[in-house]
Symmetry: C2
């Protein structure tokens, strides 16, 4: 146990998981929190609801393809959708640094509004706090989303079964690389844009093919590598993915190679993993490809009986390597 | 319109209201957000739900009578309860500064847990972000709460009517003064403690007397003065309060006098204003006095036809003064 908070405690990696398991869960464990999915599922007045919360601290606040405003909407919309729910309502809590330019704030709020419209959700309540200069970095946004789960839908990491197919909705690592290239210390000149996008319509298209979807997960902090490890642990199944079938933009792959980043662990903000029984895989894949954010969807692997709880990658050159959970974080403040 | 964000934008005062009306509402106005109560009320699957969100940035994080942990739970539990709802579930988003001592975090999380138990609500989902040293001040906590509104209950600032009685549940300004005396720059040695407390049980006791409660409001940022002004504007009624009947602890009154603060505008974190038809006032008051947090409840004034939208105070010496909305904030980072 560490005696103080490190950046790694906020990552999607092992230290963050240990923090959750050793500090948070002993205090707060209950049947709704225990599954540790992206959101909580509960019944209220006979309806099954999904709720998810996220604070966004991305640096810089404006980046190619988006800003902290649409990121904060899409991030929570997607977490609610990954519960199999239709997101309806969002709350927004702003923490602003004294001196933050009003024009920047208005630009961010306009992009919040645009993202709300695109996802078809409504902002219903909010809160604004201002802290003195130096007590925050420009703007932090918390969003909490509420959605309704259609009858018959039950998704969750624990539901993956051997024989299931693993489908990924598109290229990996775009968001992380888009944000990274904007950091002041790097002088990158490239055309990579964040993939920030609402995925709730895609989830509805998938659920129209079959309500027997086992897992939905958006591989944000920690990337596809961490998300698959979480699902492997939750389900007690093994996972095999094929390196060759992982979609990645050429420029993104190049920058990762240059900087020594593994794209498998970099954040995506408009991608989802969908795990379904093999018999539905082709139809689900076809439905995903029809979605504006799923054109490059493909099957990247299988859920297997072997190596329970572990993720293995068949490499391009024919070998196998274990895709482990990262200990810490490659890039802090990515969302 | 200011060209950048000032501390006053996060106050409960006039500049914060202008920011809401000029920047936020034109972008986000909808029937649920429009009433600008402490929480939003909406229907989902036939149930009437209340949702409220708040980010807590109090400085210092530990203060006499509480800490940022129980404050964050009670604050949102109370905002949900002020919609007439029974709070059931809470989400929690942590923003931690790199280097924050783990022992302090554990102490805060324990007090979150204790406050959850006391209020009878469950934490169902959460999020942890860590920002580099200097990009936040120790710890910020967002909580979002969800509750169920019993059939027949409809409270809201717009429902105050001439003839109604205004009841306050206890002494004012305790929280602000308790936090203020801990600020490093002041060397106060006093026994004032924060009033942070869950008020959901008191609300249920009130609603047992009558479901015809017009307004419930917890006078946090901006204090009783601002809360009454908000209700006067929402309802288009006037308000008259008697200075003599405003409960205030002697020590708190003394410190306010010394420092030039008006306790009417200082934050409370365990008090509520209840506005009911005069015929129910005595019974509601009696019920409030039975609650552990309402022993000093009293009727402080009346809703009137005169001076619509304005709050007037009958002073101790027999005069009258207008209780206006403050322009800014007397004390930043009070919650």
């Amino acid at each position: 146990m560490h005696d103080k908070i490190y950046l790694d405690h906020g990552s999607g990696g092992m230290i963050a998981h240990q923090f959750t398991e050793q500090v948070l869960m002993p205090l707060f464990k209950n049947p709704m929190l225990a599954p540790l999915n992206d959101g909580a599922v509960f019944e209220l007045a006979g309806a099954r609801l999904a709720v998810s919360t996220d604070s966004f601290v991305v640096d810089p606040v404006f980046f190619p393809g988006g800003d902290i405003g649409d990121l904060a909407v899409n991030g929570t919309v997607n977490d609610v959708a990954m519960c199999g729910a239709i997101p309806h309502y969002l709350s927004m809590g702003l923490i602003l640094e004294e001196g933050f330019p009003m024009d920047d704030l208005k630009r961010i709020l306009k992009s919040v509004r645009k993202a709300l419209d695109q996802a078809g959700v409504q902002l219903i309540t909010g809160d604004t706090k201002v802290v003195p200069k130096g007590a925050a970095d420009k703007i932090y946004i918390n969003t909490t989303g509420i959605g309704l789960i259609p009858a018959g839908v039950t998704v969750g990491g624990e539901k993956a079964r051997p024989g299931d197919k693993i489908i990924l909705s598109g290229t990996i690592a775009d968001h992380s690389i888009a944000v990274l290239t904007q950091r002041q210390e790097l002088g990158f000149n490239c055309s990579v844009t964040s993939d920030t996008a609402p995925l709730n319509a895609m989830v509805q298209s998938i659920l129209k093919i079959t309500s027997d979807v086992h897992v939905l997960r958006d591989p944000t902090r920690g990337g596809v590598g961490t998300a698959l490890n979480e699902i492997a642990r939750q389900s007690g199944c093994g996972m095999v993915i094929m390196e060759d079938s992982l979609p990645i933009a050429k420029e993104v792959a190049g920058i990762c190679e240059l900087l020594g980043f593994d794209p498998l662990y970099l954040a995506n903000e408009g991608k989802l993993l969908c795990i379904v029984p093999a018999g539905f895989a082709d139809d689900v894949l076809a439905a995903m490809c029809q979605d504006p954010y799923g054109a490059q969807a493909c099957i990247i692997g299988d859920v297997v009986r072997d190596h329970p709880g572990r993720v293995v990658m068949q490499t391009r050159i024919g070998g196998k390597r274990i895709v482990d959970m990262l200990v810490g974080e490659q890039l802090p403040r990515i969302c």
